[in-house]
């Protein structure tokens, strides 16, 4: 088991080296092949964020009163009612898991995205003090995280489809939708086409869900890194350092403000699409 570097990393100085270094995960390889090498940073940050989320929600739930709510309870209730209303509008089944899942998606994805707002070098530099060479703080900028969630959503969609329509109808839909036919011959002819469409549909959903979030967060992180490069290795006795320093500050502020919008929007989109997919899956064609 060894900490740190991945095979493709090429330790060199300058902007390229800085960015490459920042985009390398803290990978732990137990030595059973590439598949078992896991990204410790993504997992740890996800666990910490999940813990915080659960903690805050538990405190609110423990203190929950049907009388006058406190500020924390009021805030969480606003979010819950919003999500619950959205789920009720879109999904007409009785699955009790959908609304809690939606709020979990929104909160956890938002908090994971929020790590992007922290200065890009802060946590990695702190980690370095403890001898940790690589650290990526934004778990949603790790394709593993987004694909993991998207695959979970994919499985949930199938499960909802099966439980709401029964396995027979559910399986039948793979061959009878979106193109319907009345004659047997046409039905047989259309079956493979429908099946192909269905496959594409099912593959595209988790793919777009995970890629959208990952792409946005990865790009956001990269832009923060590029902004940080303005004064990379700068010396205090250079005029350019001060000019670029001001530019870096300005760019950093602008991108941070804009990124707040993106991280909220992406968390929201992930949640809404999950609800919509589940809703569609529960409806009979």
């Amino acid at each position: 088991m060894h900490f740190g570097m991945m095979a493709e990393e090429d330790v060199s100085g300058g902007v390229t080296g800085y960015i490459k270094h920042h985009l390398t995960h803290l990978t732990v390889d137990p030595g059973h092949g590439a598949f078992w090498a896991f990204h410790l940073d993504s997992i740890v940050f996800t666990l910490v964020i999940s813990f915080i989320f659960i903690l805050v929600l538990s405190i609110a739930a423990r203190r929950a009163t049907s009388g006058v709510p406190g500020k924390l309870q009021a805030a969480i209730e606003i979010l819950m009612e919003f999500v619950d209303g959205m789920v009720k509008d879109t999904y007409h089944g009785s699955n009790k898991f959908i609304a809690p899942l939606a709020i979990t998606i929104f909160c956890i994805v938002f908090l994971e995205n929020f790590m992007d707002i922290l200065p890009v070098d802060a946590l990695p530099a702190a980690a370095k003090l403890f001898g940790v060479e690589h650290l990526r703080t934004v778990a949603t900028a790790d394709l593993n995280t987004t694909v993991g969630m998207a695959l979970g959503v994919f499985l949930l969609i199938q499960w909802v489809g099966i439980t709401h329509k029964g396995i027979g109808t559910f399986a039948g839909e793979w061959f009878t939708a979106p193109f319907h036919a009345h004659s047997t011959v046409l039905k047989i002819l259309l079956a493979p086409i429908n099946f192909a469409f269905r496959i594409i549909e099912e593959v595209v959903r988790p793919l777009s869900l995970s890629m959208r979030l990952f792409g946005n967060m990865y790009a956001g992180e990269l832009i923060f890194l590029l902004i940080a490069c303005f004064t990379l290795g700068a010396a205090l006795n250079h005029v350019s350092t001060y000019v670029l320093g001001i530019a870096q500050f300005g760019a950093g502020v602008v991108w941070t403000v804009f990124h707040y919008l993106i991280i909220t929007l992406q968390a929201f989109i992930f949640m809404v699409l999950t609800i919509v997919y589940v809703g569609i899956s529960a409806e009979k064609h």
Binding site: A34, L57, Q73, I105, N144
Partner: protein, 159 residues
């Protein structure tokens, strides 16, 4: 960037958290919300009901007030009438009493006059007898001359 075991771990962690939320926190908070909503609904209904009650009570109090005012006016009216009656009655009693007293006085006066006259006539009779006896020089027996004396007395009394 490699898709590997991290994916599975992240997915599992994520769904475990969602499951925990569904199992523990969601119901507690949702129950609180729903209970509060019921309370608010009931409170609003109660407020509406009491508003209606208040209006009814106001209308009723107005009725009662009007009734009381009417009744008071009636009582004042009656009292006025009754006092008039009493005054009239008193007036009647007083005048009849006065008449009675006057009549009595008249009677008394008449009686006194009669008595005085009688007394006087008796006195005159006695004086007359005495005078006559003195004139005649002898005793007149009032018994023998009773008839004469009485006539005299009656004459005096009449005069």
């Amino acid at each position: 960037m490699n898709l590997a075991i991290t994916l599975v771990i992240q997915g599992v962690v994520f769904f475990l958290v969602a499951w925990g939320v569904m199992k523990f926190t969601w119901p507690a908070l949702m129950t609180a919300i729903e209970t509060r909503q019921k309370k608010i609904t009931a409170g609003l209904a109660a407020a509406g009901q009491s508003q209606k009650d208040l209006e009814e009570a106001e209308a009723r109090s107005k009725d009662i007030l009007r009734e009381a005012r009417d009744r008071a006016a009636q009582i004042v009216d009656q009292a006025g009438k009754r006092s008039n009656e009493i005054v009239e009655e008193a007036k009647g009693t007083a005048s009849s009493e006065a008449q009675r007293l006057v009549a009595q006085a008249h009677e008394e006066v008449a009686r006194e006059t009669t008595r005085a006259r009688e007394g006087l006539s008796r006195e005159v009779g006695k004086l007359a007898v005495e005078g006559a006896s003195r004139l005649l020089g002898r005793e007149i027996d009032p018994k023998t001359h009773a008839e004469l004396l009485d006539k005299l007395a009656a004459e005096v009394a009449r005069g």
